[in-house]
């Protein structure tokens, strides 16, 4: 537990490495961070055009739904998949510098959030351009994001050490998130019946999406807030237990 607190206190270190990770993705390119924004914008525009051609314009603001949902899904995917890779990627640093171990896990969460901040620019632009009504409810997306951060910390503390020990967790997580991308309403709209079905109610990623996407699109589903908060807290507790129990072996596993 002391090491977790020491890791949190070393926030300047993990934030600096995370910023460096993000900068490394577009270092030596002319457009720089714009690339990250454009990649997301291109994907959103492509899916929206496809949807329009198949289903017509419709009445829903599907463009805003996609513009908020896709960056959010990317964030959730990064939190899961990059967590699996976080300690293995930091092997050289772990072996050479006496940093508290969880620094490398918090770095991954911070990197994912910084990447999300880039693509969230597209969400904001689309929300403003499509004149999605903004109210005080909209601001609820901030506590929603806080829930996702807690969830992400729990995932990193759980998956980082376990995936260092068991190398098949990373490909399993990638395959799992691909499947969940299709099963979770990210690029499709669920019917009211489907919203209440076990397929979505038992999917924590659906509720994580809802606590941020809902407020931004003017909807608040109390059930999703309750489930997302509980899932985030449980994941964090599991993460803390896994991290503390596996910490002595991590150096040997990587």
């Amino acid at each position: 537990m002391d090491e977790l607190i020491a890791s949190l206190k070393a926030w300047r270190t993990w934030l600096a490495i995370a910023m460096d990770d993000v900068a490394g993705k577009y270092r030596r390119t002319v457009l720089g961070p714009l690339w990250l924004v454009m990649i997301q914008a291109g994907f959103i525009a492509g899916l929206w055009l496809l949807h329009r051609n198949i289903y017509g314009a419709g009445t829903d603001n599907f463009l805003a739904y996609l513009a908020v949902g896709l960056p959010l899904w990317s964030l959730l995917t990064m939190l899961v998949v990059d967590s699996c890779d976080s300690l293995l990627k930091a092997r050289g640093l772990i072996d050479s510098y006496p940093l508290p171990m969880a620094v490398h896990l918090f770095r991954t969460v911070a990197t994912s959030l910084l990447m999300f901040a880039h693509s969230f620019v597209v969400s904001i632009v689309v929300l403003l351009a499509t004149r999605e009504p903004l109210s005080l409810t909209t601001l609820l997306f901030l506590p929603g994001l806080a829930i996702i951060i807690v969830f992400g910390l729990g995932l990193a503390l759980t998956l980082g050490p376990l995936a260092a020990r068991f190398r098949d967790l990373l490909p399993a997580a990638q395959a799992g998130m691909n499947l969940l991308f299709v099963l979770t309403p990210v690029f499709w709209l669920p019917t009211p019946e489907l919203r209440m079905s076990p397929l979505l109610q038992l999917n924590p990623f659906y509720h994580m999406m809802e606590v941020v996407r809902g407020p931004l699109l003017g909807e608040v589903a109390p059930q999703s807030w309750a489930i997302a908060s509980a899932a985030a807290l449980v994941t964090l507790v599991i993460g803390v237990v896994v991290f503390i129990r596996t910490r002595p072996q991590i150096t040997f596993w990587i």
């Binding site: 070393a10 300047r12 270190t13 600096a16 490495i17 460096d20 490394g24 270092r27 030596r28 050289g92 640093l93 772990i94 072996d95 050479s96 510098y97 006496p98 940093l99 376990l162 020990r165 068991f166 190398r167 098949d168 967790l169 399993a172 910490r247 002595p248 072996q249 150096t251 040997f252 596993w253």
Partner: protein
């Protein structure tokens, strides 16, 4: 008062020989079938250190000698807190500084200065201490305009100077140093020796691993000889070196 004490430390490494040992599926099958399926998923352990006790009080400089694979690096990493011992206790008073693997965290696409800033941060520096360390290291490298260029454009000698300079720009109460002197030309080596001397003089406690008698004699007032993870001798530098030399020539 700075101090470092390891008491009865044993470190066991898991030795992974095949992918089955790293597989969650194979391990789950092995556990659930009580060993019938997923055979070979169990991992064997080797002891890198066995019941090692070392105490370094304020002002003491301990040299660690031994052949390759004797456990020197494991001892240093355990002292630094990077490796957690399977048994035994570690007590540290004061801030720890390490010079272990030079160049870890170096990004060839970034400039020398950018790299030094990041590595200084990995050494736990920030604010004015970080800027001072980078400035000091930059002057030591004598790389001047090259510091603004990407590290991939450096020769191996220039890279070694950069790595050494920033790794030794930190100041800590407890310094743990692996064999780092000896890269570069004669001029640089003599500069490097002086730099490590200054680093050691400022530290309250020093633990230094080396293969060189000259460095051991120069920097340390006590030595410990490790062989196959066990302490073979400890005490006066000359006596320990003679015992080591007599055993391994």
């Amino acid at each position: 008062m700075a101090g470092l004490e390891l008491t009865g430390v044993t470190v066991s490494y898991p030795v992974v020989l095949n992918s089955r040992q790293r597989s969650a599926l194979a391990n789950a099958a092995n556990t659930l079938s009580f060993g019938r399926y997923g055979r070979g998923a169990n991992v064997d352990f080797v002891q890198a250190l066995t019941d090692v006790s070392v105490k370094i009080a304020q002002g003491e400089r301990l040299g660690v000698i031994g052949r390759n694979g004797s456990g020197k690096s494991t001892l240093l990493k355990t002292a630094a807190g990077i490796i957690r011992p399977s048994r035994g206790r570690r007590e540290v008073n004061g801030k720890i500084g390490c010079v272990l693997n030079l160049g870890a965290g170096l990004d060839p696409d970034k400039s020398g200065l950018e790299n030094m800033r990041m590595i200084a941060r990995l050494h736990g520096l920030d604010g004015a201490a970080l800027e001072n360390a980078v400035e000091d290291a930059a002057a030591f490298t004598e790389l001047d305009a090259f510091l603004e260029m990407p590290v991939r454009s450096y020769s191996s000698g220039m890279g070694a100077r950069l790595n050494f300079a920033i790794a030794t720009a930190q100041r800590s109460d407890v310094m743990i140093i692996d064999e780092v002197i000896g890269t570069g030309d004669a001029y640089f080596v003599s500069k490097a020796v002086e730099r490590v001397r200054a680093l050691c003089d400022e530290a309250g406690v020093l633990m230094l691993a080396t293969h060189s008698y000259a460095i051991l004699k120069d920097f340390c007032d006590r030595a410990v000889w490790l062989d196959a993870g066990r302490v073979m001798a400890e005490g006066d530098v000359d006596e320990v070196w003679e015992a080591y030399y007599a055993a391994h020539g």
